[in-house]
């Protein structure tokens, strides 16, 4: 039996490597089997695979200085996958409690609330076999201070969006990967990035009654720069090229009128 402090999450990539400040982690392996039936028979005749094996891992964590995980997702937006496969930078290696594999980044979510640590949740997909077994960590993990951790006090919203006073912010990026199989092969010969989408949600004080072009342009240029307590960069989220998708104004007792502006961008 393993206790949580014996099980570490380690991220290994060209974007950076190290122990992740994970709050939880999960590994899900799907064999994608289903029963088949024929007319006239009461029981299933066979159990067959309907799709290739797929492994998904997910964890929530506190982004730290030079967060390599966000860099990995940010890199996926560059579009190199359509031009030069196989890509040498992605997939990345992730180790969860001794179980490891090669993973493609599939979802990155980030939430910033006032007076709180920034928390991210990520998912990765793998189309190849995992290796290893449940094992204790290999190193002693001591962090002397939390000065490198991402915190809302150090999340600066800049650009023309400063006209809005941002009360909280969330970000979500999802990437669909398309594994391509050859006849007779259980593992894909290549994995292509098919589509990706980002959503930026700003909660602000001001409500814009009609989304004019000017308001749209303002929202496009927002930049969220998250630094450490020592002012070193952790990540920069830039909304350039995004479009306003929706706006929801809410009024609650004992609270400000709040407007949630949602921006979307695809790649």
């Amino acid at each position: 039996m393993k206790y949580f402090n014996e099980c570490e999450v380690v991220f290994n990539s060209r974007f950076g490597s190290g122990v992740v400040l994970a709050q939880n982690a999960s590994i899900g392996i799907s064999r994608n089997i289903d029963s088949t039936y024929v007319i006239g028979r009461q029981n299933s005749s066979q159990v067959l695979k309907t799709k290739a094996d797929e492994t998904n891992i997910s964890f929530t964590y506190f982004p730290n200085i030079s967060d390599p995980i966000y860099k990995c997702f940010d890199y996926a937006k560059t579009g190199v996958f359509t031009n030069s496969f196989p890509e040498s930078v992605i997939p990345v290696q992730v180790v969860i409690a001794g179980i490891t594999g090669s993973f493609y980044p599939s979802r990155f979510g980030l939430t910033i609330n006032p007076n709180s640590k920034v928390q991210a949740s990520v998912s990765f997909s793998s189309f190849s076999d995992l290796s290893g077994f449940l094992n204790s960590k290999s190193a002693i993990n001591n962090l002397n201070s939390g000065s490198g951790i991402a915190h809302s006090w150090n999340a600066k919203v800049s650009g023309t969006a400063t006209v809005y006073n941002v009360l909280d912010f969330s970000y979500d990026m999802s990437i669909n990967w398309n594994p391509i199989y050859s006849v007779g092969q259980q593992r894909p010969r290549q994995v292509d990035l098919s589509v990706g989408q980002e959503t930026f949600d700003f909660t602000v004080e001001d409500a814009n009654s009609n989304f004019s072009n000017a308001a749209l342009a303002t929202a496009e240029n927002a930049k969220i720069n998250i630094t450490t307590f020592g002012d070193q960069s952790i990540m920069i989220l830039n909304t350039s090229g995004s479009r306003i998708d929706s706006s929801d104004t809410s009024i609650n007792l004992d609270d400000f009128v709040k407007n949630k502006i949602s921006l979307k961008r695809s790649f």
Partner: protein, 258 residues
């Protein structure tokens, strides 16, 4: 406070808290602390009620700053200072034979502790203490000067709001309405108790509530709410009678400031 000297202070409790949280993670050998939650300070002052009634004016939307100093010049003698303090409760209590006291609680949303002063303060000397032997209470058509004690409380809950990138609020709003409650004990004279069967949804709403006091020089120090109270209702009454003492009635009202 706000560069005006507060007189009659009996007790001060000042503090600030840095809300740190033990941050754990998978595979840790030792964790670390990170800030989680707003920075907050608090100040609690008990003073004798004087003619200036210093704290009652702070129930509004504006914050105050202040300093506890050793001497007249706060710039070099600060024991504790605070910025953006908001009154959250005001209580004035009095009983026969004692100087009425005031307890004011503040929440501090900006800096607190050993901070720089905002200059010298105005020393005012023309204040005097309130005499508890001259208290009148009026509620609606009823008035009495046979007041044994009273306790008046005003609560002002505050809601700070923060932008990302800042540890201090950009705004502190008052959560309305402000609740006013008053409990007073009087010698039974012409006061008529309510009936329990009257306690229903249409409780008797009274107006023109006031407590009038005087200092030892005969100057008035009044709590006069006039018509500013909304739905001021009699929520409970006690009657007490014992040998060798007059019949006493304790009445509790509760309402809201408009």
């Amino acid at each position: 406070m706000n560069q005006t000297q507060v007189h009659g202070v009996q007790d001060i409790q000042a503090s600030y808290q840095m809300p740190v949280q033990h941050t754990k993670y998978l595979g840790m050998n030792s964790s670390f602390y990170t800030p989680e939650g707003p920075k907050a300070g608090s100040l609690s002052i008990t003073s004798l009620l004087t003619t200036t009634n210093d704290f009652l004016a702070y129930t509004g939307e504006a914050g105050v700053y202040g300093f506890v100093t050793k001497k007249a010049n706060p710039s070099s003698n600060i024991l504790f200072g605070f910025q953006s303090g908001y009154l959250t409760s005001y209580t004035c209590g009095a009983q026969i034979g004692e100087i009425p006291t005031v307890r004011a609680n503040f929440e501090v949303y900006n800096d607190a502790g050993s901070i720089a002063s905002a200059g010298s303060f105005n020393q005012s000397s023309a204040v005097s203490l309130v005499n508890s032997n001259t208290i009148d209470i009026g509620i609606g058509d009823f008035t009495t000067n046979r007041v044994n004690s009273f306790n008046l409380n005003i609560n002002a809950n505050r809601s700070p709001a923060y932008y990302l990138g800042s540890s201090t609020p950009f705004s502190v709003k008052t959560i309305y309405p402000l609740e006013v409650s008053c409990e007073f004990n009087i010698t039974q004279d012409s006061y008529s108790l309510q009936k329990l069967s009257d306690l229903s949804y249409n409780l008797k709403n009274v107006s023109n509530f006031y407590i009038n006091t005087k200092d030892f020089n005969g100057n008035s120090v009044n709590f006069n709410f006039g018509n500013s109270l909304c739905y001021f209702i009699d929520v409970s009454e006690d009657l007490s009678a014992s040998v060798n003492s007059p019949v006493g009635i304790t009445v509790r009202y509760r309402g809201y400031l408009k």
